[in-house]
Subunit: 327 residues, 2 copies
């Protein structure tokens, strides 16, 4: 089968690998599409090697496709079923083997190419907002990098759950596209932020302090998140585009009784991914089926153009997902 | 009635105030003893004013005594019952009025003076370890300032729940007294810590990375806590003796999927205190009754010597609680 090859030396190429065979409890999927993620850029640079049990040199953390072979003991999904899900690697290929419990059935209304850009960002957003931060209807939600894939998922899910959303981005274009998705309050972020001033700008735009923050940017943004939080606020740390360190105002964390959660999907155990997938099926798939939320797609490129797709994502000019068509 | 007077100007004196009268759902308690807490030192210095609804100038966050009057609608506790609990202020006095739901019945085996040093530290430790960090039997627990009242409660509770404990303190005396209480691994903390080296010292002494940390010290200790944490670790921020800010290693928080909780008891709502008291009654009072855990008392001083008691606590040489005998 053809697949993307990422050796961790900064290069992306197309190669041939043997088709994988499903073990017990696994299924083989003919991949129709696989979204790109920031983590793929880290893996390309050698900073995020694949964990044991997945192909070391085939990147790809999410897939959508058709089940073509069942491993021992698999009852569901069935052969021919349209499925999507997350994986720890190997999705940017014509075929992939995944645990059957990590497959969700794609709603009829969603085509399999668009579906390839759904799992990673919607699972991440759902897990952050609901499973970890326990977001309640009517709460104020803040999301940085609102034009990222996860950012667009956070805005849509929070809106579907009756929350008011405030988002930041580095260009007016990303903000206006996010507003078209339902973002309530938009903030143009400067290149260098001053946490105190930025937090004041946030609470003013939001009409009050923030209950739940999804932080995809890191660095000094996290300091601002703490300062902008309401009593009992929750801050979920999902990305570090702006840096892996910040000053933590411990007194503010204590006096407001904040909770900070660090999160990544990839290294989670099989059982944890089962649970995250089940929660996604229960709470997100119905919203996808009804059209209340939808994948936001910057562009779809053929597998052969993977190198160009990676460059596009790295350019930081995209809004929503870059997806590889693997058919 | 006689009471301690703390005007927030750095002074502590003894004064006379009218006896308080219980409103609906409240009881009047003849206070036998009231423990001192670090927060009382902040209030003395004017940094931690009493919240609305409690006496502005009478300090005291915990009490033990005898119920002498019931407000409207109170069924439990009864007149004459021995009770203890937390309050947002006013306990360092001969009498106090508190919500009936904030009174727990003192086990027969515990005298009312010792009981006055129990509620704040054991409620804080239980709430931090169990309600917030969801500590499981067999996990590794780290506590800084192990000689503090909360520190001695954390060690005893963690031990009673089958956890291995690692504790830090600034003097060998405090460490050996903590070991007598059941502390498994003792670390003498230097005046200035280097977070990386300190975290290595912690995981070596503990025999592995830490699952749950109760941090009463703050500052650079929090950075060390993050570095010493196991995957899925929880860090509860309870105090800032060493400073109210630190550098947060965001990448470590994310990759280990840590949870950080900020906590304070005093500003919590009545309902939240009801819940914390109920959890204390269910999980801690039985351990106090059986003797599995016990208050650790540095000294008991009469109400008239309150100024001296405050100085003693501020000296940072105490091990366990300083209690005022208010009879």
């Amino acid at each position: 089968m053809r697949c993307v090859i990422s050796l961790g030396d900064g290069t992306i190429s197309i190669g041939e690998r043997p088709s994988p065979r499903p073990g017990p409890g696994e299924v083989r999927v003919r991949v129709h599409a696989a979204g790109l993620n920031r983590a793929d850029l880290l893996q390309r640079a050698g900073f995020y090697p694949a964990p044991p049990g997945v192909p070391a040199d085939i990147p790809g953390l999410e897939f959508a496709g058709e089940v073509i072979e069942l491993g021992e003991g698999v009852i569901s999904p069935e052969i021919g079923e349209r499925v999507f899900g997350i994986t720890a690697g190997g999705a940017q290929a014509e075929e992939i083997v995944v645990a059957s419990a990590h497959c969700a059935v794609v709603p009829e209304s969603l085509d399999l190419v668009s579906a390839g850009g759904v799992p990673e960002v919607f699972l991440t957003a759902h897990d952050a907002l609901r499973t970890q931060a326990q977001l309640l209807s009517g709460e104020r939600v803040l999301v940085h990098a609102v034009g990222s894939g996860v950012g667009t998922a956070v805005v849509q899910l929070a809106r579907a759950w009756g929350c008011e959303t405030t988002g930041t981005a580095r260009t007016p274009e990303k903000l206006s596209r996010a507003q078209a998705l339902g973002l309530d309050n938009a903030i143009l972020a400067p290149r260098e932020i001053d946490p105190l001033a930025f937090s004041a700008q946030i609470t003013e735009a939001a009409g009050g302090p923030i209950d739940v923050t999804a932080d995809l940017v890191g660095g000094a943004y996290v300091t601002a998140d703490v300062l902008a939080s309401a009593e009992g606020g929750r801050v979920v740390l999902i990305g570090t585009l702006a840096g892996g360190r910040c000053e933590l105002p411990i007194l503010a964390v204590m006096s407001k009784r904040l909770r900070l959660f660090g999160t990544v999907l990839r290294p989670r155990s099989r059982d944890e991914k089962n649970a995250a997938t089940a929660a996604f099926v229960a709470e997100v798939v119905p919203l996808l089926a009804s059209g209340a939320v939808a994948p936001v797609i910057e562009t779809v490129l053929p597998l052969a153009d993977a190198e160009q797709a990676y460059e596009l994502l790295a350019s930081d000019t995209t809004f929503g997902k870059v997806i590889l068509d693997c058919r």
